[in-house]
């Protein structure tokens, strides 16, 4: 394990985090809030720690998959710890576990909150909460890859692999650094377009910023107690469209940018993603028609909730906890499917689901023709056995963590639906669940222990399980 390199990168991360806190400090200055001092203090702390760690440029730059996974996992934990400090220091969330929960929920773009009253909070704190979504959406290390001056050593790809969602990472450009820049460019561009459209719809600038951060990162922290419910239908529609857009594989946008329409049609994942959204929206519209004034409104709200859940954003315009069972069940299923690989969304990812179904079909045909040779295809290409294998293993690890977490938080003795959807909502980085953790509720009811379990779930979900599990594997820390 190349510790000097790991510390060096974590030093960078701390510095980047210090830089990322500056906007919140500026917001505090604009609104003249005392909480801004908390940010100033944490910025200084991050800078000092970061510079100390970066002090020594690593002599040995070798960096393997193991280092990549460990760096990413450690970075996320340290980032969340630092990010939680302003909440504690400003006194908004005095309990450190609660503050951790809120920050991890922000960085992992979950959007599950432990805050009961949001509207009374200082602006700078609200801004920081939402901004963590934007940072976490595309990934801090991917951001760092745009900046890092080191070359060689192979750390680029290993960091990228560990942080990017999806079964396999595809490079957009020959260099990882260029790929990271393209990704962040697209991300920034889409965010600005949304911001402009929201402001055009007469949303206050501060709200528009925070909502954009929440949408772009597919996070879901609202700055109002009723989430998005209070905004106009136009604004809700804009948010719906952008939530769905941020859930699409960013490769598609790059292909659009390169003007390669034929290859876009090859992108099966995006196709299935849209098909699932359309089908779910239509079914739900049918079931909830009676509770809305018109079929158009029913469709509007159905589309918003479906978009919010499948992209794992977690905004809400209505309390879907009050809907009939079928729409609720569909939403819970969508939680597991999640967005596309290579997007900012969480969940298991559409491509994994498609692969699993195709592999299942292959297996069935092997029962009919035991000697058959058949491959699994995606996007017109044969999928390697190794990749398929890792998809199965992901599913198994996912189910195990899910079951384990549900069991552990059962200690608080809430009902099964609450616990089940609480784990689903955190492991898939969505935010709201059903019943006691429904869209109008929050996670404050859980004990510190359960919150720690859910924090683990959020991190595991965002980093796609394996990097976090590696931290707890003995062999990772063995020299040989």
């Amino acid at each position: 394990m190349n510790y000097s390199m790991i510390f060096y990168i974590i030093g960078w991360i701390l510095n980047v985090e210090a830089a990322l806190m500056i906007p919140s400090a500026i917001v505090a200055a604009i609104y003249q809030e005392k909480s801004g001092l908390a940010f100033a203090a944490v910025i200084v702390l991050c800078l000092v720690l970061g510079l100390l760690l970066m002090n020594r440029s690593p002599r040995n730059k070798v960096f393997y998959a193991k280092e990549g996974a460990v760096t990413v996992a450690l970075s996320w934990i340290i980032m969340s710890l630092m990010g939680a400090l302003p909440f504690v220091l400003s006194g908004t969330i005095p309990n450190i576990v609660d503050a951790m929960f809120e920050t991890v929920s922000g960085f992992t773009t979950t959007g599950a909150s432990i805050l009961t009253a949001i509207e009374g909070l200082p602006y700078c704190i609200l801004f920081w909460r939402s901004f963590t979504h934007w940072i976490g959406g595309m990934g801090v290390l991917v951001f760092l890859l745009c900046l890092l001056p080191l070359t060689g050593g192979g750390y680029h790809m290993n960091l990228m692999k560990a942080e990017s969602p999806g079964p396999s990472v595809s490079k957009l450009a020959p260099k990882v650094q260029a790929t990271a820049k393209i990704l962040y460019g697209l991300y920034l561009f889409l965010s600005i377009v949304e911001l402009a459209l929201l402001i055009a719809g007469k949303m206050p600038v501060f709200d528009a910023l925070c909502t954009t951060f929440g949408t772009a990162g597919t996070g879901g922290f609202g700055i109002k107690n009723d989430s998005i419910g209070g905004y106009s239908t136009y604004l809700q529609a804009v948010i719906t469209v952008f939530m769905i857009l941020f859930g699409v594989n960013f490769n598609v946008y790059y292909l659009i940018y390169l003007k390669k329409p034929k290859e876009i049609l090859h992108c099966e994942e995006a196709k299935w993603y849209l098909v699932i959204i359309a089908a779910s929206t239509l079914i739900i519209t049918g079931f909830v028609r009676s509770s809305f004034s018109s079929i158009a409104m029913a469709f509007h709200h159905a589309a918003f909730q479906v978009g919010s859940i499948i992209t794992t954003t977690g905004f809400a315009t209505v309390d879907f906890n009050l809907w009939p069972t079928i729409p609720k069940t569909i939403l819970v299923l969508l939680m597991f499917i999640g967005a596309c690989a290579g997007s900012t969304g969480g969940g298991m990812k559409v491509s994994r689901i498609v692969l699993l179904f195709r592999a299942l079909k292959c297996e069935l045909s092997r029962y009919l023709h035991p000697q058959i040779v058949r491959k699994v295809y995606l996007d017109g290409r044969v999928i390697d056995r190794e990749i398929l294998h890792s998809v199965y293993m992901f599913l198994i690890a996912y189910v195990l963590i899910f079951a384990g977490s549900t069991l552990l938080i059962g200690i608080d003795n809430y009902d099964l639906t609450t616990n089940f959807t609480a784990v689903a909502a955190t492991l898939n980085n969505i935010g709201p669940g059903l019943e006691l953790v429904g869209p109008t509720q929050n996670f404050a009811l859980y004990s510190n222990f359960s919150k720690l379990v859910l924090i683990f779930d959020m991190l595991a979900g965002r980093l796609e399980i394996f990097p976090i599990l590696l931290l707890f594997t003995r062999a990772t820390w063995k020299k040989f």
Binding site: V62, Y64, A65, K478, K479, F480
Partner: protein, 452 residues
């Protein structure tokens, strides 16, 4: 003795070389006329072209008069059949080489049922040899005498030991250990030193002593006694398989890098405790990723000698691991020695050594009394263990009064299990075994140590 050797491969050839040097009458049998021609010309042996398992061929080779029949062809089954036939058609002792790990568990049964005197497994022998070195990483080579009670260790002198410029007498008086420096290698020359010999920091020493005393010796001169606890093995051949089995049993962490996928699958089935890595070990970054820097030991066992040497050189640069390389074919021992790449294992010599020991022991019962013989220091010196069966001119005389040959040292006396480091007043007694190191060749009897 009359000896028939079937198979003129690597082991057959090196056996022929050693046995003919000791004056035995050899008959070489092989299917390839070219090989037979070459070997019989080189070592003054009779050559017969044909299948060694055939009755007629064996008759032609004179199996009826032969004392020993050695089958070392490439195939286990053929070797066994050869010995079986020879056993039936003559009254000779038989030695077969059987290397398939499948048979290795049943070797005892096969040996008894087929009436074969000795079965040798070169890969297993090599693996055992490597194991010894891993247990004692300071030494480059280890030979054992007196049923494992006495060790002969070869190691490179390092400046921190502080031996340079001192005489052996001074050093020994200072250290007060019961070991004996029995050979010094300096600039490709082998010297059997006496007490006034002055050492240099660049020398390679060989010492003899009991297990405890050698360990004590290394401790006192400050060589790292850090134990080897894990091993990175390059190449997943049969030696690696045997070695890994032994290492896993004593609690090592074992990682094997192997190029062929099928072989990896097989090894992974046979060695569930080891990490099997499928990859090309000539790829630097793979080696480093798999923890070469942190490995306690690197054992290079690929099929290519050159690759093994390069791997060791690379590892020497990037880690402080104990290095062991297998060299099978190439014979630039001196050059390889100059690289200073730790221990080098020559499986063909190991096998030949093993067989030679047996031959000596057989001769023992005929007249000579050499119990064990090692060619040490790449064959430039010999370490012999004599058993003293009867009173003679060397027994019951204080050693200082014996008129010993030059370049000869009595290193050790084993008196019924007690290991004595000989001093001038000690006497050799009947019933002892005595270990002698010398650059003189062809000692057959304990009396040969005296000047004529």
């Amino acid at each position: 003795m009359n000896i028939i050797i079937v198979g003129c491969g690597k082991v057959g050839t090196s056996l022929a070389e050693r046995l003919s040097a000791e004056g035995h009458d050899l008959v070489m049998v092989d299917l390839s006329p070219v090989k037979v021609e070459e070997v019989s010309n080189r070592f003054d042996a009779m050559g017969i072209v044909g299948n060694g398992a055939s009755f007629n061929v064996q008759q032609e080779a004179g199996v009826e008069e032969a004392d020993l029949f050695i089958a070392v062809t490439g195939e286990d089954e053929l070797n066994l059949l050869c010995c079986l036939m020879a056993k039936k058609s003559g009254r000779c002792q038989t030695i077969a080489r059987v290397r398939n790990p499948l048979y290795s568990k049943e070797i005892q049964f096969i040996r008894e049922q087929l009436g074969i005197s000795m079965i040798i497994n070169p890969e297993l022998t090599a693996a055992r040899e490597i194991l010894k070195l891993l247990k004692f990483p300071s030494a480059i080579k280890i030979d054992t005498f007196a049923k494992g009670r006495v060790e002969l260790l070869r190691f490179r002198l390092r400046p921190e030991a502080g031996f340079g410029g001192k005489t052996i007498m001074e050093i020994m008086n200072h250290l007060k250990t019961d070991v004996l420096i029995c050979a010094v290698e300096r600039d490709s020359e082998v010297i059997i030193p006496n007490g006034s010999f002055v050492l240099q920091d660049s020398d390679t020493l060989s010492i003899v002593g009991s297990l405890q005393s050698t360990a004590q010796f290394f401790e006192k001169i400050g060589y790292r006694s850090k134990k080897v606890k894990n091993s990175l093995i390059i190449g997943g051949g049969t030696i690696a398989h045997y070695l890994a089995l032994d290492l896993l049993k004593i609690g090592f962490r074992v990682r094997i890098i192997e190029q062929k996928k099928e072989r990896c699958d097989y090894l992974s089935e046979m060695l569930p405790g080891a990490d099997i890595i499928h990859g090309d070990a000539s790829n630097e970054s793979l080696l480093l990723e798999e923890g070469l820097t942190y490995a306690d030991s690197l054992v290079a066992l690929t099929g290519l000698d050159e690759e093994n040497i390069f791997l060791s050189l690379f590892a020497k640069k990037h880690s402080s691991a104990k290095l062991i390389a297998k060299v099978n074919r190439i014979s630039f021992n001196e050059v390889i020695d100059g690289f200073d790449i730790g221990s080098v294992i020559y499986p063909k010599y190991l096998t030949a050594d093993y067989i030679l020991q047996y031959v000596r022991a057989r001769q023992n019962s005929i007249g000579s009394n050499v119990e064990t013989l090692y060619k040490i220091l790449d064959g430039r010196a010999e370490a012999l263990e004599f058993s003293i069966n009867e009173a003679s001119s060397v027994t019951d005389v204080p050693l200082m009064n014996l008129n010993l040959k030059d370049n000869l040292l009595i290193c050790c006396i084993n008196r019924k299990g007690t290991i004595l480091t000989p001093r001038g007043q000690n006497k050799i007694k009947v019933g002892d075994t005595v270990i002698v190191v010398t650059t003189n060749r062809g000692l057959r009897d304990i009396r040969d140590i005296l000047k004529n």
